[in-house]
């Protein structure tokens, strides 16, 4: 625990991509916090959302959006550090951020490998859940009978804490199999995708229904031209929710034994060995993974719905 102050300041600076030196040489918590936030304000070079995602800030407007939460996050971490230092909090209660960061860098290679394992479980489950949710929604929206069958089942499935099935799935498959986790993730993902997509498919405004009727188009054409494109924003709302759930499910499913290759199993084993900062480092990695998957989902949504992007140009209203 020697000299965590300067190191923290340096880390914060590197993360925030500050080019000028922060006035963080002092050991006092308050002064350090002030210095870090000062560096964030002066740099104007980049931003971090939460724990990852460094972006080059091109537009000042974007900076104004990104900067406040970044500064806030840095201040919170600084206060955390100061609190742990000042009151000499034991690591098993709450390790210092600097200590977690040390462990994070120390086990970086393991973290990358385990993140890959958990991440691929989450992604496979996400894709499977997305595809099945989408297909089920299409069937449900096209047939009242199927909808009547699926709706209560979906509601019942949503009421089950799906994660409770993880130990049971583990015993169904071999101990070296990743299938149980992926299955849990797929089931967790299915529900929000299904519910939102069904809603989207049903949400066709009357005026569009009448228009398509006036054009005498068949059911298939109607689905392709109006119903499906109209449901895309709803689908992505479900998908974005599902993307965060997928990582959570993938990590937590590992808590219940089975193959020891992911972040979840590392968190449990580190905690069991009283290596708390190390356990926290893996938790941090799980956060980064979750945010990364969420951002990917957001990017896909952005790509798929160009008409929803706020555009400054051409919005001049002329009548």
């Amino acid at each position: 625990m020697t000299g965590p102050g300067p190191r923290l300041a340096a880390d914060a600076r590197s993360v925030a991509d500050a080019s000028d030196a922060a006035d963080a040489s002092g050991a006092g918590g308050a002064r350090r916090a002030g210095g870090v936030s000062g560096a964030g304000g002066a740099s104007g070079a980049g931003g971090v959302s939460g724990a990852g995602g460094v972006r080059g800030a091109r537009a000042r407007a974007r900076l104004a959006v990104v900067l406040p939460p970044v500064v806030f996050g840095i201040v919170v971490v600084a206060l955390w550090e100061a609190y742990v230092q000042a009151y000499d909090i034991k690591p098993y209660l709450l390790p210092a951020p600097s200590e977690i960061w040390t462990q994070f860098r120390h086990s970086f290679r393991v973290i990358v490998d385990t993140s890959k394992a958990t991440g691929s479980n989450a992604l496979v489950g996400l894709v499977v859940g997305l595809v099945t949710g989408l297909l089920a929604a299409l069937v449900a929206a096209s047939s009242k009978i199927v909808d009547g069958l699926l709706a209560p089942i979906a509601a019942a499935m949503n009421a089950i804490p799906i994660i409770a099935l993880a130990p049971l799935f583990n015993s169904m498959f071999s101990t070296t199999s990743s299938v149980p986790r992926r299955l849990v993730v797929a089931i967790v993902v299915f529900f929000p995708v299904y519910v939102n997509t069904v809603r989207g498919l049903r949400q066709v405004p009357d005026v569009q229904r009448e228009l398509m009727r006036s054009l005498a188009v068949g059911r298939w054409r109607f689905a392709c031209t109006v119903q499906l494109p109209g449901a895309i924003p709803y689908l992505f709302t479900g998908f974005r929710v599902a993307s965060s759930l997928a990582v959570i499910a993938a990590v937590v499913a590992e808590y219940f034994g089975g193959r020891q290759n992911g972040l979840g199993s590392r968190i449990t084993s580190a905690a069991a060995n009283t290596a708390y900062p190390r356990a926290w480092a893996f938790v941090l990695a799980a956060c980064v993974l979750g945010i990364a998957v969420y951002l990917i989902a957001g990017l896909l949504e952005w790509l798929a719905t160009p008409w929803r992007r706020g555009s400054g140009s051409g919005s001049t209203a002329r009548t």
Binding site: S214, G230, A317
Partner: protein
């Protein structure tokens, strides 16, 4: 999309009939029905305000754009009851004519428009569009329709929305592009082809919706309060544009509206309706001079400013006010309010 040939005896008889009289010679077709009260004629206001004439069977004339013959519409309500939306409706619209349906809320004017478009089926009676049953007319794309809400598909660009009817009917891409460009020029939105609907004002969206309705050059245009949600200034401008578009395309138009000045400004005839049950109480001929095509202006770039200025001239005429008064009195007489 070729139209199916006329199948009815009425349409067959029509081909033997002499040339179509102009809309103003045409007897108004609101045949009195037992339920409706006797129509009240505003005595003095408009010289051409016509009382309902002796019943002339609509089918006996030449092929009409729209014939509504003894139509009733009853909606069954969820409680097991029934609402009579329309009763004993007779209406004939000649080719090239502009007819407005006006009346208070709940008089069934939108329902009547939807019956013509086969978006709603009549409980009794018959609806014929260009000699065909309404369904066949819809299936062969004899009309274009625009609603109070523009109803644009937000994931399609402005041009993509105008192209929609052509696209779903398999028109080639190059042809679609060309037609969309033409139509957007017609409605004065040529510069906005690549925009998303969300980037347009309400009035602009409505113009896109009208362009879309015109995409397949339908001989009949059905408009359900297309300017209802617009502010007064935009509305008058849009009316002027609609009058111009109609003259340029010589389309038959049925317009549903709440606005008396709008109906008078645009129409050859105004059908006044009253609620509970919905019926046509009177059909008023409108004869306001100065609404013809402006000299030296045909097609090409739309001179919106000119059209608006001319429209103002029209609206300030004594004949215009007289017609407005006639429609207002007819509405009052119908027990609308």
């Amino acid at each position: 999309m070729t139209s199916t040939p006329p199948q009815s005896p009425a349409a067959g008889a029509a081909s033997d009939a002499p040339a179509a009289p102009s809309p103003h010679d045409e007897p108004t077709a609101a045949v009195p029905d037992p339920v409706a009260p006797d129509p009240v004629v505003p005595g003095t206001a408009v010289p051409t305000a016509a009382a309902v004439p002796a019943a002339v069977p609509a089918a006996a004339g030449p092929t009409q754009a729209v014939e509504v013959i003894g139509v009733d519409k009853v909606f069954s309500t969820s409680g097991g009851g029934a609402t009579v939306a329309l009763t004993g409706i007779d209406l004939t619209v000649a080719p090239g004519e502009f007819v407005s349906l006006i009346g208070p809320s709940g008089c069934g004017k939108s329902t009547l428009l939807r019956l013509v478009g086969d978006l709603v089926e009549p409980t009794g009676g018959e609806v014929r569009v260009f000699g065909e049953p309404a369904r066949a007319a819809r299936q062969s794309q004899r009309y274009g329709i625009a609603f109070q809400q523009a109803g644009l598909l937000e994931w399609r660009t402005v041009a993509g929305n105008v192209e929609l009817p052509l696209q779903v009917h398999g028109v080639k891409k190059k042809e679609r592009r060309e037609r969309a460009r033409e139509l957007l020029e017609l409605v004065g939105l040529a510069d906005f082809a690549g925009h998303w609907p969300a980037q347009l004002s309400g009035g602009m969206q409505q113009r896109v919706a009208i362009a879309r309705a015109l995409a397949e050059r339908p001989p009949l245009l059905l408009l359900d309060e297309p300017f209802g949600a617009l502010d007064e200034m935009t509305r008058e401008r849009m009316q002027a544009e609609l009058a111009r578009i109609r003259l340029e395309t010589s389309t038959t138009v049925i317009l549903v509206t709440h606005s008396i000045p709008e109906a008078v400004f645009l129409s050859d005839r105004v059908a006044v309706m009253s609620p509970r049950p919905g019926r046509i109480t009177q059909v008023i001929d409108i004869d306001v001079p100065g609404r013809g095509p402006a000299p030296g202006e045909s097609g090409g770039a739309p001179a919106v400013e000119d059209a608006v200025a001319e429209a103002e001239d029209v609206r300030e005429q004594a004949a215009f006010f007289q017609a407005v008064t006639a429609v207002r009195e007819a509405l009052r007489a119908g027990g609308g309010s």
